[in-house]
Amino acid sequence: MKDWIIALLAGGVTGVLSAWGVGGGSLLILFMTGVQGMDQPLSQGINLLYFLPTSLTALVSHLKNRLIDIKLALCAVAAGAVTTALSSLLATGLDTQVVRKIFGAFVVIIGITELFRKCPETRRPDEGTQDTPRE
């Protein structure tokens, strides 16, 4: 039960971060593997699954606000669907410890860029009222 509540809270906190455009997913994966001792593919699978309903709600408001460049986005989806299928196959076929170490290197790089990035650029345009466009 205690583990269940901790998991619920960890999901909640990283969910809030994700909604603010602070990549909560990679942090959640680190928590699941590093603190909870879950294996890398399970943690990654959970994060992927979790993104589906969460982003669907955000997408509805973006579509309403006509914020999506559909033509260009569909080009990206077509190419990305192929590469993501291949890289998922690769990641689930490799030794989990190897994937974990590569993931570690990836998040260290992301962490360094987060330390030095200019913050106004990271705001996610949401319902659009509080957010002032830069130009």
Binding site: G25, A76, T84, V107
Partner: protein, 119 residues
């Protein structure tokens, strides 16, 4: 010179590689590429990246579910917590200074990443 469509396709391909391999981080690759390379307006880039990443996550999630031993019971609290957190975060978006959060986030990633490499 590549057309915008070709550039967008390449950006999507790069995001797909990251998204599938790490199960996260596709947006972190995609958004800067859409803004800096495809020259998409910033707000559109964020919104379009959600539109792009969603189907990529669906494809990757299917592969992960089929090829790994997926434990739904262990996944459940994270999924419930994440949904609640995302909803709350969306409501109070823009009312919280995110600059400090990004710095803390960066430090946590570096610590966690180093631990993962050393594991």
């Amino acid at each position: 010179m590549l057309s915008d469509k070709a550039k967008s396709a390449l950006a999507g391909a790069a995001a797909g590689v990251v998204n599938g391999f790490f199960g996260a981080g596709g947006g972190m690759v995609l958004v800067p590429l859409l803004i800096g390379w495809v020259k998409m307006d910033q707000r559109k880039a964020f919104a379009s990246s959600v539109f792009i990443i969603l189907p990529l996550c669906a494809v990757s999630a299917a592969v992960y579910l089929l090829r790994t031993e997926f434990d739904f019971l262990r996944a459940l609290p994270y999924l419930i917590g994440g949904l609640a957190g995302g909803f709350i975060g969306g409501r109070i978006f823009g009312k919280v200074p995110t600059k400090l959060l990004h710095r803390i986030f960066g430090i946590l990633l570096i610590i966690g990443g180093v631990r993962a490499i050393a594991s």
